[in-house]
Amino acid sequence: MSLLAVRDLKKNFGALKALNNVSFDLEEGEIVGIIGPNGAGKTTLFNVIVGIYRPDGGDVVFKGKSVRNLPPHRICRTGITKTSQVVHPFLTLTVKENVLIALMFGRNLTKKASESKAEEIMEFLNIADVKDMRSTQVSLAKRRRLELARALGTGADLILMDENLAGLNPRELEEGMEIIRELKKRGKTLIIVEHIMQAIMGVCERLIVLSYGEKIGEGLPVEVCSDDRVIQAYLGEKICSV
């Protein structure tokens, strides 16, 4: 049985079909990338899976149970959360408090029990040096890490990363990719939305291509990026060969 099964998912905004019968499966421990042009429905797909939007049709089955129509906090506790493209930390709280909140509520721990785990997560993501700073005061790269730290804090098995690597310099990007590989070793399953093909090709084991709300391709990264439809819809040029 797959960890996540997305079945014929539909989401409309008025007349716009943001998602139109999107289906795919995800195995435990996989890293899957989702690519596609702006407006393809990538972020909408994430928001439907985590429960921020309600789907207009189809189903999301996680660990064998439908999570459709559950509110985000319930879905989070069953094991799915996401990092947002536009970072939304709890601004006036410190970095550490941000992580503590995810631990306390995502895993239903006491504040005391969360402390050591928060330290561990911040250490792992290399943000321990700014733990007592307000999240408004830290750099974009660290705020993106903070988003990830919160996602890890909730204890979710499946993390949806929405452009978590955007806007980073080459060194930060390399670090980010290393963290993703490390997360896989720790048993996490990841879906990554990203425009940086270097990052996508570097960490993803499988790609799904969306365009205008429909899935137009799926497969190994090298296969997908040499597919003519994908090149036409998104890549624009051939960036790899089989």
Partner: protein
């Protein structure tokens, strides 16, 4: 930690004040200050911590007033049980109202709560005339039995308000408080972190409702006469908001300081020069919102931070 000791010392000192055998005026003034500390703190617990600015908080004050008045005069209950029931009733109504209004964000929540408070006021005012019965007594108001001396209310307010501030203090550092602060900062992120935002919001709103309801109940017995236009007056809500803003919204002791300063200003300037006082309130509100959005407390911690 030192700060907490100061506040505890202040509380203990206030417990001993009646030993000085002061004139009644001082007890009345101090009781009034306590009442406002309680109201501003209770308001702050919901609105300061979650960022849902309640413009209808006076509804629970009025409900508390009327519930206690009716329970004492019509049901013949003693004061303390009447106040407890009033608080619970006020909290129950807050759960119902909160469930529906706290799905609204920003100004819409403010408008909905303001409308609710006005509606309750009108119901109490017009109910008897509409249904041809005698319950709320309409604009005549209700007169309560006179039984106790000034120190009784002094202590009742002091203990209840001390408890309210203590609850706010605890909430500021416990898990539930973190849920509220997370909601204030980024509600979607709070959900994604596993917080049941709706339940947290409605819970804290209910607690605020109980607190304000209890204060209303004590107020009714203290004043011995209540009328709808007085106890449901929107200026009470505005006072709670300004006091909390002035002292520091979302902090524990900010609303306490705001309530003390503005109650004294109201008592001194407001009594003799009403319009000067109202003008002053307006100016204070503008200055605080534009220049020191974190209030008096924020000003203090900013200075400490710079050193």
């Amino acid at each position: 930690m030192r700060k907490q000791i100061v506040w505890i010392a202040v509380f203990l000192a206030l417990l001993l004040v009646p030993a000085l055998k002061l004139e009644g005026y001082y007890y009345r003034t101090l009781s009034m200050i306590f009442l406002w500390i309680g109201l501003a703190s209770a308001w702050n617990l919901t609105s300061g911590f979650t960022g849902y600015i309640d413009f209808g908080a006076v509804a629970y004050f009025g409900i508390g007033n009327y519930a206690t008045a009716l329970l004492m005069t019509k049901a013949g209950l003693p004061f303390f049980p009447a106040v407890v029931i009033s608080g619970l009733l006020s909290g129950a109504i807050a759960i119902f109202i909160g469930k529906h209004t706290m799905k609204l964000r920003g100004a819409y929540f403010g408008i909905a709560t303001l409308a609710f408070a006005e509606a309750v006021s009108q119901i109490v005012l017009e109910f008897d005339r509409t249904f041809h019965i005698t319950l709320f007594e309409g604009s005549h108001g209700i007169t309560l039995p006179i039984a106790h001396d000034e120190t009784f209310f002094y202590y009742t307010f002091l203990v209840v308000v001390g408890l309210i501030v203590f609850v706010v203090f605890l909430t500021d550092r416990n898990k539930f408080g973190y849920a509220l602060k997370a909601i204030k900062e980024a509600e979607n992120s709070a959900e994604l972190a596993g917080i049941n935002t709706q339940r947290s919001k409605v819970s804290v709103y209910a607690v605020t409702g109980v607190m304000i309801g209890v204060l209303g109940g004590i107020n009714a017995y203290w004043l011995t006469y209540i009328s709808p236009l007085d106890v449901f007056s929107v200026t009470h809500t505005i006072h709670m908001i300004i006091m909390a803003l002035f002292g520091g919204i979302g902090t524990v002791f900010g609303p306490v300081i705001g309530a003390v300063v503005l109650s004294i200003a109201n008592e001194t300037i407001g009594a003799s020069l009403l319009y000067t006082y109202l003008l002053m309130l307006g100016v204070i509100l503008l200055v605080v919102v534009i220049f020191v959005p974190s209030g008096f407390i924020g000003l203090l911690s900013f200075r400490r931070f710079r050193k």
